[in-house]
Protein backbone atom coordinates (compact mmCIF):
# COMPACT_ATOMS: atom_id res chain seq x y z
CA UNK A 1 0.00 0.00 0.00
CA UNK A 2 3.05 2.23 0.04
CA UNK A 3 2.51 3.50 -3.48
CA UNK A 4 -1.09 4.28 -2.67
CA UNK A 5 -0.13 6.48 0.25
CA UNK A 6 2.43 8.31 -1.82
CA UNK A 7 -0.06 8.92 -4.64
CA UNK A 8 -3.41 9.50 -2.97
CA UNK A 9 -6.55 9.01 -5.04
CA UNK A 10 -7.08 12.78 -5.00
CA UNK A 11 -4.09 13.27 -7.28
CA UNK A 12 -5.12 10.51 -9.65
CA UNK A 13 -8.79 11.46 -9.86
CA UNK A 14 -9.34 15.17 -10.49
CA UNK A 15 -12.62 17.08 -9.95
CA UNK A 16 -13.50 17.05 -13.65
CA UNK A 17 -12.82 13.32 -13.80
CA UNK A 18 -15.35 12.80 -11.03
CA UNK A 19 -17.93 14.89 -12.94
CA UNK A 20 -17.35 12.83 -16.09
CA UNK A 21 -17.70 9.63 -14.07
CA UNK A 22 -20.90 10.81 -12.38
CA UNK A 23 -22.37 11.76 -15.76
CA UNK A 24 -21.37 8.36 -17.13
CA UNK A 25 -22.91 6.47 -14.21
CA UNK A 26 -26.11 8.58 -14.40
CA UNK A 27 -26.41 7.83 -18.11
CA UNK A 28 -25.76 4.17 -17.45
CA UNK A 29 -28.47 3.99 -14.76
CA UNK A 30 -31.00 5.69 -17.04
CA UNK A 31 -30.09 3.36 -19.89
CA UNK A 32 -30.43 0.28 -17.68
CA UNK A 33 -33.80 1.35 -16.34
CA UNK A 34 -35.20 2.14 -19.77
CA UNK A 35 -33.92 -1.10 -21.30
CA UNK A 36 -34.58 -3.52 -18.48
CA UNK A 37 -38.06 -2.54 -17.33
CA UNK A 38 -39.50 -5.84 -18.40
CA UNK A 39 -43.18 -6.34 -18.03
CA UNK A 40 -44.69 -9.38 -19.72
CA UNK A 41 -44.08 -9.62 -23.44
CA UNK A 42 -47.02 -8.25 -25.41
CA UNK A 43 -46.21 -8.52 -29.08
CA UNK A 44 -44.42 -10.84 -31.48
CA UNK A 45 -42.56 -9.15 -34.34
CA UNK A 46 -41.44 -11.00 -37.41
CA UNK A 47 -38.69 -9.49 -39.53
CA UNK A 48 -36.96 -10.33 -42.77
CA UNK A 49 -33.47 -8.79 -43.09
CA UNK A 50 -34.35 -6.57 -40.15
CA UNK A 51 -37.43 -5.16 -41.90
CA UNK A 52 -40.63 -5.61 -39.95
CA UNK A 53 -42.99 -7.96 -41.82
CA UNK A 54 -45.74 -8.35 -39.26
CA UNK A 55 -46.56 -7.94 -35.56
CA UNK A 56 -49.14 -9.93 -33.64
CA UNK A 57 -50.44 -9.56 -30.07
CA UNK A 58 -49.41 -12.56 -27.94
CA UNK A 59 -52.82 -12.97 -26.37
CA UNK A 60 -54.38 -14.25 -29.58
CA UNK A 61 -53.39 -17.77 -30.59
CA UNK A 62 -52.49 -18.25 -34.24
CA UNK A 63 -50.09 -19.92 -36.66
CA UNK A 64 -48.50 -17.86 -39.40
CA UNK A 65 -45.99 -18.57 -42.18
CA UNK A 66 -43.50 -16.30 -43.89
CA UNK A 67 -41.45 -16.78 -47.04
CA UNK A 68 -37.71 -16.24 -46.54
CA UNK A 69 -34.64 -16.71 -48.69
CA UNK A 70 -34.80 -20.54 -48.56
CA UNK A 71 -38.46 -21.26 -48.04
CA UNK A 72 -41.27 -20.99 -45.53
CA UNK A 73 -40.76 -20.31 -41.80
CA UNK A 74 -43.78 -21.26 -39.67
CA UNK A 75 -44.40 -19.39 -36.42
CA UNK A 76 -46.87 -20.36 -33.68
CA UNK A 77 -48.25 -17.86 -31.16
CA UNK A 78 -49.97 -19.42 -28.18
CA UNK A 79 -50.96 -18.30 -24.67
CA UNK A 80 -48.59 -15.34 -24.36
CA UNK A 81 -45.64 -17.12 -26.00
CA UNK A 82 -44.30 -17.56 -29.50
CA UNK A 83 -41.99 -20.05 -31.21
CA UNK A 84 -40.62 -21.05 -34.59
CA UNK A 85 -42.37 -24.29 -35.50
CA UNK A 86 -40.45 -25.07 -38.67
CA UNK A 87 -37.79 -23.49 -40.83
CA UNK A 88 -35.86 -24.61 -43.91
CA UNK A 89 -32.45 -23.68 -42.39
CA UNK A 90 -29.85 -26.48 -42.20
CA UNK A 91 -29.04 -26.29 -38.48
CA UNK A 92 -32.50 -25.53 -37.04
CA UNK A 93 -31.11 -23.32 -34.27
CA UNK A 94 -34.20 -21.10 -34.19
CA UNK A 95 -36.57 -24.08 -34.03
CA UNK A 96 -34.57 -25.70 -31.20
CA UNK A 97 -34.78 -22.47 -29.22
CA UNK A 98 -38.39 -23.32 -28.41
CA UNK A 99 -40.86 -20.95 -26.80
CA UNK A 100 -40.01 -17.28 -26.29
CA UNK A 101 -41.91 -15.54 -23.53
CA UNK A 102 -39.93 -12.54 -22.25
CA UNK A 103 -39.64 -9.13 -23.92
CA UNK A 104 -36.36 -8.80 -25.82
CA UNK A 105 -36.09 -12.52 -26.47
CA UNK A 106 -35.60 -13.48 -30.08
CA UNK A 107 -35.05 -16.42 -32.40
CA UNK A 108 -33.07 -15.77 -35.58
CA UNK A 109 -33.37 -18.11 -38.54
CA UNK A 110 -30.31 -16.61 -40.20
CA UNK A 111 -30.18 -18.84 -43.32
CA UNK A 112 -33.78 -17.94 -44.14
CA UNK A 113 -33.28 -14.26 -43.14
CA UNK A 114 -36.31 -14.43 -40.80
CA UNK A 115 -36.30 -13.42 -37.15
CA UNK A 116 -38.94 -13.56 -34.43
CA UNK A 117 -38.66 -11.19 -31.48
CA UNK A 118 -40.87 -10.28 -28.55
CA UNK A 119 -41.43 -6.77 -27.31
CA UNK A 120 -42.88 -5.60 -24.02
CA UNK A 121 -46.19 -3.94 -23.49
CA UNK A 122 -46.70 -0.93 -21.23
CA UNK A 123 -44.50 -1.33 -18.13
CA UNK A 124 -46.12 -2.76 -15.03
CA UNK A 125 -45.54 -1.01 -11.72
CA UNK A 126 -46.34 -3.75 -9.24
CA UNK A 127 -43.18 -3.11 -7.24
CA UNK A 128 -44.25 0.50 -6.67
CA UNK A 129 -47.26 -0.56 -4.57
CA UNK A 130 -45.09 -0.76 -1.47
Amino acid sequence: MNWFLRYPLKRLLRPGDILVLLAGVAGWVMLSISLWQSGPAAEAQIRRDGVLLAAYPLNEDRTVSFAGALGITVIRIESGRARIVSDPGPRQYCVKQGWLSRPGEMAVCAPNHISLSLTGGPPTHESMAY
Binding site: L12, L13, D17, V20, G24, G27, L35, G50
Partner: protein, 174 residues
Protein backbone atom coordinates in the same frame (compact mmCIF):
# COMPACT_ATOMS: atom_id res chain seq x y z
CA UNK B 1 14.46 3.49 -59.56
CA UNK B 2 15.35 2.77 -55.97
CA UNK B 3 13.87 4.77 -53.20
CA UNK B 4 15.46 4.99 -49.82
CA UNK B 5 13.21 5.07 -46.81
CA UNK B 6 14.81 7.11 -44.08
CA UNK B 7 13.67 6.29 -40.59
CA UNK B 8 13.28 9.23 -38.25
CA UNK B 9 13.66 8.92 -34.49
CA UNK B 10 9.89 9.40 -34.39
CA UNK B 11 9.40 6.24 -36.44
CA UNK B 12 11.56 4.30 -34.00
CA UNK B 13 9.63 5.59 -31.03
CA UNK B 14 6.28 4.79 -32.62
CA UNK B 15 7.51 1.29 -33.44
CA UNK B 16 8.73 0.71 -29.89
CA UNK B 17 5.50 1.91 -28.29
CA UNK B 18 3.40 -0.04 -30.78
CA UNK B 19 5.37 -3.19 -29.93
CA UNK B 20 4.56 -2.68 -26.26
CA UNK B 21 0.86 -2.15 -27.06
CA UNK B 22 0.80 -5.25 -29.27
CA UNK B 23 2.34 -7.36 -26.51
CA UNK B 24 -0.25 -6.17 -23.99
CA UNK B 25 -3.15 -6.70 -26.41
CA UNK B 26 -1.94 -10.21 -27.31
CA UNK B 27 -1.64 -11.30 -23.69
CA UNK B 28 -5.09 -9.89 -23.08
CA UNK B 29 -6.59 -11.71 -26.07
CA UNK B 30 -5.43 -15.00 -24.53
CA UNK B 31 -7.34 -14.35 -21.30
CA UNK B 32 -10.88 -15.74 -21.53
CA UNK B 33 -13.69 -13.25 -21.07
CA UNK B 34 -17.11 -14.00 -19.55
CA UNK B 35 -18.78 -12.11 -22.39
CA UNK B 36 -17.33 -11.64 -25.88
CA UNK B 37 -16.50 -7.97 -26.29
CA UNK B 38 -15.90 -7.31 -22.61
CA UNK B 39 -12.18 -6.96 -21.94
CA UNK B 40 -10.05 -4.52 -19.99
CA UNK B 41 -8.41 -2.92 -23.05
CA UNK B 42 -5.11 -2.53 -21.23
CA UNK B 43 -3.31 -1.66 -24.48
CA UNK B 44 -5.16 1.65 -24.40
CA UNK B 45 -3.00 2.61 -21.44
CA UNK B 46 -0.19 2.95 -24.00
CA UNK B 47 -2.41 5.07 -26.28
CA UNK B 48 -3.19 7.47 -23.42
CA UNK B 49 0.40 7.66 -22.23
CA UNK B 50 1.52 8.51 -25.77
CA UNK B 51 -1.28 11.04 -26.17
CA UNK B 52 -0.33 12.83 -22.96
CA UNK B 53 3.44 12.64 -23.38
CA UNK B 54 3.68 13.19 -27.15
CA UNK B 55 0.72 14.20 -29.29
CA UNK B 56 -2.52 12.94 -30.75
CA UNK B 57 -1.03 11.96 -34.10
CA UNK B 58 1.55 9.67 -32.50
CA UNK B 59 -1.18 8.13 -30.34
CA UNK B 60 -3.31 7.52 -33.44
CA UNK B 61 -0.39 5.82 -35.23
CA UNK B 62 0.39 3.60 -32.25
CA UNK B 63 -3.25 2.62 -31.84
CA UNK B 64 -4.07 1.91 -35.49
CA UNK B 65 -0.83 -0.03 -36.05
CA UNK B 66 -1.62 -2.08 -32.95
CA UNK B 67 -5.13 -2.90 -34.17
CA UNK B 68 -3.74 -3.95 -37.55
CA UNK B 69 -0.90 -6.04 -36.12
CA UNK B 70 -2.97 -7.78 -33.46
CA UNK B 71 -5.68 -8.67 -35.99
CA UNK B 72 -3.03 -10.22 -38.24
CA UNK B 73 -1.49 -12.12 -35.33
CA UNK B 74 -4.74 -13.58 -34.03
CA UNK B 75 -6.02 -14.27 -37.56
CA UNK B 76 -8.93 -11.85 -37.47
CA UNK B 77 -7.74 -9.52 -40.26
CA UNK B 78 -10.76 -8.20 -42.22
CA UNK B 79 -13.07 -10.47 -40.19
CA UNK B 80 -15.92 -8.92 -38.18
CA UNK B 81 -13.64 -8.80 -35.12
CA UNK B 82 -11.19 -6.62 -37.01
CA UNK B 83 -13.89 -4.27 -38.28
CA UNK B 84 -15.18 -3.90 -34.72
CA UNK B 85 -11.70 -3.20 -33.29
CA UNK B 86 -10.90 -0.70 -36.03
CA UNK B 87 -14.21 1.13 -35.68
CA UNK B 88 -13.84 1.21 -31.89
CA UNK B 89 -10.27 2.51 -32.19
CA UNK B 90 -11.29 5.22 -34.68
CA UNK B 91 -14.19 6.32 -32.47
CA UNK B 92 -12.04 6.55 -29.36
CA UNK B 93 -9.30 8.41 -31.23
CA UNK B 94 -11.96 10.83 -32.47
CA UNK B 95 -13.29 11.52 -28.98
CA UNK B 96 -9.73 11.80 -27.63
CA UNK B 97 -9.00 14.44 -30.27
CA UNK B 98 -12.06 16.41 -29.13
CA UNK B 99 -11.40 15.94 -25.40
CA UNK B 100 -7.66 16.51 -25.24
CA UNK B 101 -7.94 20.34 -24.93
CA UNK B 102 -9.73 19.73 -21.61
CA UNK B 103 -6.70 17.96 -20.20
CA UNK B 104 -4.14 20.25 -21.79
CA UNK B 105 -5.81 23.54 -20.82
CA UNK B 106 -7.28 22.54 -17.44
CA UNK B 107 -4.91 19.92 -16.03
CA UNK B 108 -6.05 20.69 -12.48
CA UNK B 109 -9.59 19.73 -13.42
CA UNK B 110 -9.37 16.99 -15.99
CA UNK B 111 -6.92 14.09 -16.00
CA UNK B 112 -6.33 10.76 -17.70
CA UNK B 113 -9.48 9.27 -16.16
CA UNK B 114 -11.67 11.67 -18.18
CA UNK B 115 -9.91 10.71 -21.41
CA UNK B 116 -9.99 7.01 -20.63
CA UNK B 117 -13.68 6.91 -19.69
CA UNK B 118 -14.76 8.96 -22.72
CA UNK B 119 -12.67 6.82 -25.06
CA UNK B 120 -13.95 3.56 -23.55
CA UNK B 121 -17.57 4.71 -23.90
CA UNK B 122 -17.06 5.87 -27.50
CA UNK B 123 -15.37 2.54 -28.28
CA UNK B 124 -18.17 0.47 -26.78
CA UNK B 125 -21.07 2.47 -28.20
CA UNK B 126 -19.61 2.40 -31.71
CA UNK B 127 -19.17 -1.36 -31.48
CA UNK B 128 -22.72 -1.85 -30.17
CA UNK B 129 -24.03 0.27 -33.04
CA UNK B 130 -22.13 -1.76 -35.63
CA UNK B 131 -23.28 -5.05 -34.08
CA UNK B 132 -26.86 -3.76 -34.12
CA UNK B 133 -26.75 -2.47 -37.70
CA UNK B 134 -24.58 -5.09 -39.34
CA UNK B 135 -24.04 -8.32 -37.42
CA UNK B 136 -27.26 -8.81 -35.46
CA UNK B 137 -29.92 -6.57 -37.02
CA UNK B 138 -32.37 -6.72 -34.16
CA UNK B 139 -33.37 -4.47 -31.27
CA UNK B 140 -32.62 -7.40 -28.94
CA UNK B 141 -28.97 -6.29 -28.94
CA UNK B 142 -29.90 -3.38 -26.68
CA UNK B 143 -30.85 -5.76 -23.85
CA UNK B 144 -27.13 -6.36 -23.30
CA UNK B 145 -26.13 -2.73 -23.82
CA UNK B 146 -26.11 -1.82 -20.08
CA UNK B 147 -23.71 -4.71 -19.37
CA UNK B 148 -21.29 -3.56 -22.07
CA UNK B 149 -21.53 0.12 -21.19
CA UNK B 150 -21.10 -0.68 -17.49
CA UNK B 151 -17.97 -2.67 -18.31
CA UNK B 152 -16.68 0.23 -20.41
CA UNK B 153 -17.20 2.60 -17.47
CA UNK B 154 -15.40 0.31 -15.02
CA UNK B 155 -12.45 -0.59 -17.22
CA UNK B 156 -12.22 2.98 -18.56
CA UNK B 157 -11.89 4.26 -15.00
CA UNK B 158 -9.33 1.61 -14.00
CA UNK B 159 -7.18 2.20 -17.10
CA UNK B 160 -7.38 5.95 -16.52
CA UNK B 161 -6.24 5.52 -12.92
CA UNK B 162 -3.31 3.38 -14.08
CA UNK B 163 -2.31 6.07 -16.58
CA UNK B 164 -2.62 8.79 -13.92
CA UNK B 165 -0.55 6.70 -11.53
CA UNK B 166 2.14 5.97 -14.12
CA UNK B 167 2.35 9.67 -14.90
CA UNK B 168 2.68 10.76 -11.27
CA UNK B 169 5.41 8.19 -10.67
CA UNK B 170 7.00 9.35 -13.94
CA UNK B 171 7.17 12.98 -12.86
CA UNK B 172 8.22 12.02 -9.33
CA UNK B 173 11.25 10.26 -10.74
CA UNK B 174 12.40 13.27 -12.76
Amino acid sequence: MMRTLTLTPDDHRIARLTAAAIAIALVESAVPSPLPGVKPGLANIITLLVLLRDDWLTAAWVTLLRVLAVSLLVGQFLAPGFVLSLAGALASLGILYLAQPLVRRMPMWFGPVTLSVLAALAHMMTQLLIVRLWLVPSPGVWVLAPVFIGAALIFGTLNGLVVAWLRTSDSARQ
